[in-house]
């Protein structure tokens, strides 16, 4: 039984002229436990809407989402979404440690053990020594690390990530990708990541679902057989990597 199932999901919005605009059309896929799956597609193809539906934050117009065979009709307890806008999602009034503790408190954990766990997670994302800082005192990349640590503190079985590295600089992006792979390997959390960066999707995941624009639909599913552990220089230079990249690029370009 897959951990996460998306079955014939549709989402339409009421247009201004009374006509409904179809944002997502009939998307189906499923994810097994501990898989790392990427959704890649052009900007504005409804990727965020899709994630919001899976996270139970937006109700779909049709089809269903299920986590552990249980239909999602509200934010499910085993799943957390990491937002693209980390600076709007972090709690400005809490310190870095306080933000991570929030994830534990939401799970009903508090006191010394919770604080120790929060510190360990901050270590895992490479932020030891920044516990007492406030989010605004950190760079964008570091803020996104805080958001990831906060999500991990909740111990979700599924971690949804919406363009998590979309607004950090290129070098930081590569660092964060490797940090995420390290965390994934260590914790075994199932990850569904949305990105418009084809290479990022291939580099990180076991499988890539290629989305086309308006309405959003899966036009191809590509398995990524590249060996792990991956690294930014070697993996990206492999012929298999280039092949996948070109194949996905053409698929997106053809779909327009």
């Amino acid at each position: 039984m897959p951990l996460l199932e998306v079955d014939a999901l549709c989402k339409s919005y009421d247009g201004s002229a009374g006509a409904a605009t179809l944002a997502i059309e009939n998307i189906s896929f499923s994810i097994e436990r501990s898989e790392f799956v990427a959704l890649v597609g052009p900007s504005g193809c409804g990727k965020t809407t899709l994630l919001m539906c899976i996270a139970g934050l937006v109700a779909p117009s049709g089809g269903r989402v299920a986590v552990k065979a249980k239909q999602v009709d509200r934010p499910p307890p085993d799943l957390v979404l990491v937002f693209q806008e980390y600076n709007r999602s972090l709690f400005a009034w809490r310190t870095v440690l306080g933000n991570v503790l929030f994830g534990l408190e939401a799970k009903g954990r508090s006191g010394k053990p919770a604080e120790e766990r929060a510190r360990r997670l901050l270590g895992l994302v490479g932020l030891e020594g920044f516990e007492r800082h406030y989010p605004w005192q950190l760079s964008g990349g570091m803020q996104q690390r805080v958001a990831i640590a906060r999500a991990l503190a909740y111990e979700p079985e599924v971690l949804l990530m919406d363009e998590p590295f979309g607004s950090v600089d290129a070098m930081t992006r590569l660092e964060l990708e490797d940090a995420l792979l390290g965390i994934w390997k260590e914790l075994g959390t199932t990850i569904l990541l949305v990105t418009h960066d084809i290479e990022e999707a291939i580099y990180l995941s076991d499988r890539v679902h290629v989305l086309a624009r308006r309405p959003s639909r899966v036009v191809e599913t590509v398995a990524v057989p590249l060996a792990r552990p991956r690294n930014q220089v070697g993996t990206r230079a492999e012929p298999g990597f280039m092949e996948l990249r070109n194949r996905i690029y053409r698929r997106i370009a053809d779909a327009g």
């Binding site: 139970g56 934050l57 934010p75 979404l81 709690f91 009034w93 809490r94 939401a106 406030y134 605004w136």
Partner: protein
Amino acid sequence: MRAERRFNVSGVGLFAALLLLWEIYSRAAGIQDYLPPPSAALKALVEPSVARALLGHLAGTLGRFAGGYFLAAALAVGAGVVLGYSRFAYSVSEVIIELLRPMPSVAIIPVAILCLGIGDAMMIAVTVYAAAWPILLNTIDGVRNLDRTLIDTGRTFGLGRLKILWQVALPAAAPYIATGLRVSLPIALILVTTSEMVAGADGLGYFILDEERSLRPANMYAGIVVVALLGYALNRLFLLVEARALAWKRGLQTRGEA
């Protein structure tokens, strides 16, 4: 920020010059019965019997102020969070709010006297009424301007509505709430002293009016000096507490300005 800390020489100079002018005019014109020189007010202030009486009245005023202000804060923040969060709750109360808000709050004093009689309950009630408005409206504003992403963050972490209000909406709206609390501070003091003048048996407002009626203008001015200092001190205290409580926000602002 920095300019505020600097000692304002010219400002204090003008204030001292005006006091001096008043002193000279009052002595020269021989109108000390209704406009005693500042030195007379000062002398009254430090006279043991007057000072003792003033201390008692100050305690009464402070007590009523604290009761009214904190009660107003608790009620208005609570109501404001709910009204800011729920469109339905707001539209139900909108007409009442729009009608009552522009009414000068002192108009409620006779109503309070009718309903509650003369005494502390009535004076605290009118203070709560007047002080609640700025806090309520600012809290509503703060909760309304909340970033949708913050609420969705609370939801994806499995928080229910109440917990989102308490743990996300309330702290996120804290800067707005602080603005309301700051505006309400002098309003609460105005209502306390006014109601003491109208229907009090003690308190600085009562003292000021009573001394005026007893033809002791120097004592009256001494009372006015004490209320003025009280207002000043309360405001400074507020700014101090606010700076500590919203330390996280001050950093955000400085960065935004840079």
